[in-house]
């Protein structure tokens, strides 16, 4: 069986050929250090500037508001710690949510040890943060509100403009981890009053190991990587030139083709959700039915455990995930699934299939053919299922 169906685009995507081609010259010919005075350096600098413009344009930002990082996690760490330390004279309280990515949550936990206070907001059963809850959590000493744009596990898209508006009224900085949203849905940082935004290239067909933090002009933030004058003195380290070029190209392509891609992928997604819900009993769809990323599907299959489901799908060539790929090292069920109110038992049985550019109608058909019998077989093996059948 050679069929391979990749449905883990939320974990990472391949790099598009067009993107890779723009990167290639920067390894061998245009290899100068952009900080150098000579021609080898200057010619590279120009292209870095172009990439910065491409990103700015995609977000409705100014080029000088874009700072390159090694990815989404660094951007999240920088936003949270950089704002916290720069503004601690003003206050030490941060508001975020229970469903953030580990890059953000662990930065907050670190800050708690360092004397900051963090409020982790609840979400509703669909994973939505209630703007009223944000409002209620704001205190005199609140310096930052950080709410992710769209969740990586269940795909729920938050009311970012509304929450950011609340922050703005009170002169509190607003950050959003938009790693899953950028390239998939339309974002405008100015219209939406976003002060800081994290993104990562490998989620939208760019290379791994490169991302960016948008920092609105005038925002008070310190650096977390100290050293040379790169990124206008705010982020040290010789630039990942090919990565940055690839990021610029990838975001340009993603934004230019967003409408048609989103429509196509959404149609596949809805077909997949409908098929799974029809064919597999005792199943729930996680996340919001409408406010969800075009490519995200997330299910919980009762009575079975996610990893054994993943492995069985993998044997059939289907690549999915059970919770965030990053948290797969942990034995606890996903913090996101617990936050939307699922029991541990149910949360253990989660499956995320995230669709992308390469998925086709046949892929969906194949999954709908292969998945139900696997779930059934695992249920037949499960002592939990036995009880249910007994009770019926």
């Amino acid at each position: 069986m050679n069929k391979r169906v990749y449905m883990d685009h939320a974990a990472t995507t391949y790099t598009k050929t067009e993107v890779l081609q723009t990167m290639m010259p920067f390894y061998t010919e245009l290899f100068g250090n952009p900080s150098s005075v000579h021609q080898f350096g200057r010619e590279v600098k120009k292209h870095i500037d172009t990439a910065r413009e491409q990103i700015a344009k995609a977000l409705g930002a100014l080029p000088e508001e874009i700072y390159f990082t090694a990815g989404g996690s660094e951007a999240d760490n920088w936003a949270i710690k950089g704002i916290a330390y720069a503004n601690r004279k003003k206050g030490n309280h941060i508001i975020t949510t229970k469903i953030e990515h580990p890059g953000l949550l662990e930065s907050c936990k670190y800050l708690e040890k360092e004397g900051f206070e963090v409020t982790y907001l609840d979400v509703d059963e669909y994973g939505l943060v209630k703007p009223e809850d944000v409002e209620r959590a704001i205190k005199e000493n609140t310096i930052l509100i950080s709410v992710m744009y769209a969740n990586n596990e269940i795909g729920t898209i938050q009311s970012i403009a509304e929450i950011a508006g609340l922050a703005k009224e009170r002169k509190i900085y607003f950050h959003t981890d938009a790693v899953q949203a950028v390239g998939s849905i339309k974002i405008d940082v100015k219209e939406q009053n976003i002060d800081l935004l994290s993104l990562s290239a490998h989620k939208f067909y760019g290379p791994k190991g490169v991302g960016a933090l948008y920092i609105r002009k005038g925002v008070k933030i310190i650096s977390i990587l100290h050293g040379g004058h790169q990124e206008r003195g705010r982020r040290a380290g010789t630039e990942n030139v090919p990565g940055i070029i690839g990021l610029g190209k990838a975001i340009e392509i993603a934004v230019n083709t967003m409408d048609e891609n989103a429509a196509r992928i959404k149609a596949l997604r809805d077909k997949l959700i409908q098929g799974v819900m029809e064919k597999v009993p005792y199943t729930r769809l996680n996340g919001h039915p409408e406010k969800r990323l075009p490519g995200n599907t997330s299910f919980c299959f009762e009575f079975i455990e996610g990893e054994s489901l993943l492995l069985n799908l993998d044997i059939k060539g289907i690549a999915g995930s059970s919770g965030s790929a990053c948290s797969s090292g942990s034995l606890d069920p996903s913090h996101v699934l617990l936050a939307i109110g699922l029991s541990h038992e149910i949360a253990h049985g989660s499956l995320r299939l995230s669709l992308g550019d390469i998925n086709t109608q046949e892929d969906i058909d194949y999954v709908l053919e292969v998945l139900p019998p696997i779930v059934d077989r695992l249920r037949q093996m499960s002592p939990l299922y036995e009880r249910v059948k007994g009770g019926k």
């Binding site: 455990e305 492995l311 090292g329 034995l331 002592p383």
Partner: protein
């Protein structure tokens, strides 16, 4: 991640199922932690003539259940009681460190079933 042996037992688990009117039944683990193993025994003249299991859990949980039941089938009760999680791991050609607790669970499930058998016998 998993050895070929684990994947073999995971994909084709031996002794899956229940035994009606089993002589001993043991269940360990809980759904909260994501692993439950239930072992059923048929014992004749102190020998385990049949053994079945049901498992809710990860790949390693299923594979350790499968190999553990295979290892005690045909053994005497005393021999079966000597089964250690280490032997389970060895016969699977290793487990990732994060999954070693599954082998412990398998050992415990076998012991729980034997205890149940002994209790019934004594009763």
């Amino acid at each position: 991640m998993y050895s070929d042996k684990v994947m073999d037992h995971f994909s084709n688990p031996r002794n899956v199922g229940e035994i009606e009117n089993a002589d001993g039944v043991g269940e360990v683990g809980n759904a909260h932690c994501g692993d439950i193993m239930k072992v059923y025994l048929k014992v004749e003249n102190d020998i385990i003539t049949d053994v079945r299991f049901k498992t809710f859990g990860c790949g390693a949980a299923i594979a350790t259940s499968s190999v553990a039941t295979e290892m005690i089938k045909g053994k005497t009760i005393d021999e079966a009681l000597k089964l250690t999680n280490k032997e389970v791991v060895e016969s699977l050609e290793g487990l990732p460190p994060a999954k070693l607790h599954c082998s412990v669970l398998a050992e415990e499930a076998v012991k729980a079933a034997i205890e149940d058998y002994k209790k019934k016998l004594g009763a």
